[in-house]
């Protein structure tokens, strides 16, 4: 598992890491060990004409996770709409922070 993050609780961990800086820097720090890479995958149900599943409210890591997502999103979008690979980088950072907080 990645060694990013140092706080004791997932929420606090994410808030503490909110100043990580550009996504690329965070990823570079996380990718020292490329095996066992933690990811978040967004769930999509395309069984009905590609419509996304309805939203049901935040639970996973609460507001800190969404806040950090938005922060990274703003960084990415400074150069235009991001690619899926760039978005995956954001999710990878979030997952690494989450897993490290969650595993303590």
């Amino acid at each position: 598992m990645s060694d990013a993050g140092a706080a004791q609780q997932p929420g606090a961990d994410l808030r503490a890491e909110a100043d990580l800086g550009p996504v690329t820097s965070a990823l570079a720090r996380l990718k020292r060990d490329r095996e066992g890479v933690a990811m978040f995958l967004v769930l999509e149900d395309l069984a009905t004409d590609g419509e996304p599943a309805a939203e049901t409210g935040p639970e996973l890591d609460g507001p800190a996770l969404a806040q950090l997502t938005a922060q990274y999103g703003r960084q990415l979008m400074q150069t235009g709409e991001p690619t899926e690979r760039q978005v995956a980088g954001v999710l990878e950072v979030l997952a690494a922070l989450h897993f490290n907080g969650a595993s303590r």
């Binding site: 598992m1 997932p10 490329r34 095996e35 066992g36 890479v37 933690a38 990811m39 978040f40 995958l41 967004v42 769930l43 999509e44 149900d45 395309l46 069984a47 009905t48 590609g50 996304p52 599943a53 309805a54 939203e55 049901t56 409210g57 935040p58 639970e59 996973l60 890591d61 996770l65 969404a66 997502t69 938005a70 999103g73 990415l76 979008m77 235009g80 709409e81 991001p82 690619t83 899926e84 690979r85 978005v87 995956a88 954001v90 999710l91 979030l94 997952a95 989450h98 897993f99 969650a102 595993s103």
Partner: protein
């Protein structure tokens, strides 16, 4: 690469429509101890989910485990998945997902290293020169007894490089039939080199649906394609 609407992702994160996945590639013998420690940690905090649990999550919209789910995913069809990873998974009673570039399995032993180098299948130094680098179909069938088998195209190809009927046969239809023949079960999913999902390549999208893959794993999304009644996966809470 096609650009995406980041707001969709932000909404999904806010809604908790996320699934944890841990991606593994090479599991050479030298990495065995680290792999075991990693999996022990995962098992402690999460339910390591197989196909039935994923289907149930989508189907019911609820997670029924006593800990949150995570998928353990092994890519590339390396021989060391059977020799190193599988015994550890069995020891820990873990069900994992194996994504296999099916043509790699059929490559003659003497050509496997060159094939890997030519198709972005990364090798570790300790395995260069090994007699065999890819799983055999017998090993795939054995893995299928307790694990989930999925396709990773035929030749480990990017979605943008699949354009002709011949490409579709080699990378989408052929791998589906090959896995079905070897394991007696259709592949549970497919994934493309580079991690693209469906939505940007209509020809490929149609072929994946026609072939009958239930799921597509991308770098950032897990897309369900089956036409069973759709229910919304509920947000997944933190591990205890």
């Amino acid at each position: 690469m096609t650009q995406v609407d980041f707001d969709r992702y932000t909404s999904a994160v806010q809604a908790g429509r996320l699934l944890r996945v841990v991606n593994f590639h090479n599991t050479a013998a030298g990495a065995a101890d680290g792999l075991r420690r990693h999996l022990v940690q995962l098992r402690r905090d999460f339910v390591i989910a197989g196909r039935a649990e994923l289907d149930d999550l989508f189907q019911t919209g609820e997670w029924h485990g006593d800990r949150p789910p995570v998928l353990a995913v092994f890519y590339e069809g390396y021989a060391n998945h059977a020799a190193v990873a599988a015994p550890i998974l069995a020891e820990l009673d873990i069900t994992a997902w194996f994504f296999i570039p099916t043509v790699f399995i059929d490559v003659p032993l003497a050509d496997q290293e060159a094939f890997a180098d030519a198709h972005s299948i990364d090798l570790v130094e300790e395995e260069r020169g090994a007699e065999r680098l890819a799983l055999t179909w017998d090993e795939v069938a054995e893995l299928a007894q307790r694990h989930v088998i999925a396709a990773h195209t035929g030749t480990h190809e990017q979605i943008t490089e699949i354009r002709t009927d011949e490409d579709l046969e080699r990378e989408i239809f052929g791998p589906f039939r090959r896995i079905l023949a070897a394991t007696g079960q259709p592949p549970a999913a497919t994934a493309f080199l580079g991690g693209s999902g469906l939505g940007d390549a209509p020809l490929v999208d149609a072929a994946v649906r026609e072939a009958g893959y239930p799921y597509v794993f991308s770098n950032s999304r897990l897309q369900r394609l089956t036409s069973v009644p759709r229910l919304v996966p509920a947000p997944i809470g933190n591990p205890r």
